[in-house]
Amino acid sequence: MTIRRKACIVGAFEHPIRKAPDKTVAQLHAECARGALADAGLSLEDVDAYFCAGDAPGMGPTSMVDYLGLRVRHVDSTDTGGSAYLVHVAHAAQAIAAGKCNVALITLAGRPRSEASSGVAPRVVSATTPDAPWEMPYGPVTVNMYALAAARHMHEYGTTPAQLAWIKVAASTHAQHNPNAMLRDVLTVDDVLASPMIADPLHKLDCCVVSDGGGALVVVRPEIARSLTRTVVNVLGAGETVKGQLAGAVDLTWSGAAISGPIAFEEAKVRPSDIQYASIYDSFTITALMQIEDLGFCPKGQGGRFVEDGNLISGVGRLPFNTDGGGLCNNHPANRGGVTKVIEAVRQLRGEAHPQVQVRDCGLALAQGLGGLLGSRHGSATLILERA
């Protein structure tokens, strides 16, 4: 069974807050839910399916369905880190296509900025996590587990720090137009290279922001979408996977996007060259580079050359990406950027991105998520979306 055009995104909301010391995580989820439902023109009683991941407090949907005041007949708490919310869109579309539900609500929220969590803090790992005994003694944090992939990419393909920096430059060029973005200064390659080295070869400005906040999405049956007033965004294709260490055959030259991407393109019946706008998960510059290659926007190993000279800047380059400023400059709520990737793709397809970054007549977009650690084990999810 395909989900091609079987479900539509009709509500998308990004919380404008970036620091929320006085709000609970549950409250942020509720405010995001309210925002996305209002955007769709729907209300709490219309929702019959709920999706959340590991950022949701309590026992996943069991706590949150009750807290939000929902009555549901379908729930899903798949957790693939920051990519989970793209998986949720796909699973919502599957459930709708299978007749299990009609209106699915997806929420993400968190407060890592208020809680002083960051990419150099030790990751919170349960002692029963099977990989933990073998890895925790060595000091893996978030940033160095991406840096290992960046170092290997540079070794294999000659990718340079300046090429990675171009990804931040493109994101910052877009972020200047987003009043909610955490970093609004337009940066240069030299700015990135002059910022402190965190874990070789990643500088501070190769990293995403740490922000409080959240977002939510509403996915519905096409008949319901047509009854609403918003521009309808169809789910055209989706792919998901988990990539790990391959039982010791570690290969850091590719990401899970090499698996989830082709699955999504095949279902959508489009090619990478058809995509007019791409939201690419950008926890670090290397994250975006690796996925751009693995999705087929350029040949493997040529990502460095592809992203140079503003090729990701809307109105300038061939692949406008992360026009909200992305995780690199705008927002990375709960240290999980998946929902904001979908939200900006929806804005582009609706023609509601900032006029300075709006892709002209944007009819086909891709959203790509990668959650967990690029250097060890991560979830990857690809969504292809079209304006109906």
Binding site: A121, Y138, V143, N144, P196, A199, K204, G248
Partner: protein, 132 residues
């Protein structure tokens, strides 16, 4: 630029029935890995059930020699810089580790390394690698 290696305080590792024989061997200066009794393939990290064929696995002593697959000197995650790395053992599996006892700025992918053991709390020894 030089970044001399400095000892980093190491807490006791997680020890459970799946890991205890490994730590016992490390205390004796031996690096071990697990190999499948059925398909004979080694894997990493060690598991009782083979991730290739689901067979039962057994401990084998490793040579302790390997090659750096990737390395990142982590400079801003605590007071002491340290080198996180993947080392591909001569047995063919790649493990996460630290590179020690060297100028961390001179480490490179492809460099030959040999296992050594650094003391941790609770009388544990943690396998790490130093340039040959």
């Amino acid at each position: 630029m030089t970044t001399p290696y400095q000892d980093r305080p190491l807490t006791a590792p997680i020890s459970d029935p799946a890991t205890e024989p490994y730590w016992n061997a490390a205390r004796e200066g031996v690096l071990r890995l697990r190999r499948c009794q059925a398909c004979k393939r080694p894997h990493w990290y060690p598991r009782p059930v083979c991730p290739f064929c689901a067979g039962d696995t057994e401990w084998k002593n490793a040579s302790g020699l390997g090659t750096i697959y990737s390395v990142s000197v982590t400079r801003r995650a605590g007071p002491i810089p340290y080198a996180l790395a993947y080392v591909t053992l001569d047995e063919g599996v790649t493990m996460l580790t630290n590179i020690v006892d060297a100028d961390l700025d001179t480490l490179y992918i492809g460099q030959r390394v040999k296992v050594c053991f650094k003391p941790a709390e609770g009388d544990y020894s943690i396998p790490m690698f130093a340039p040959v």
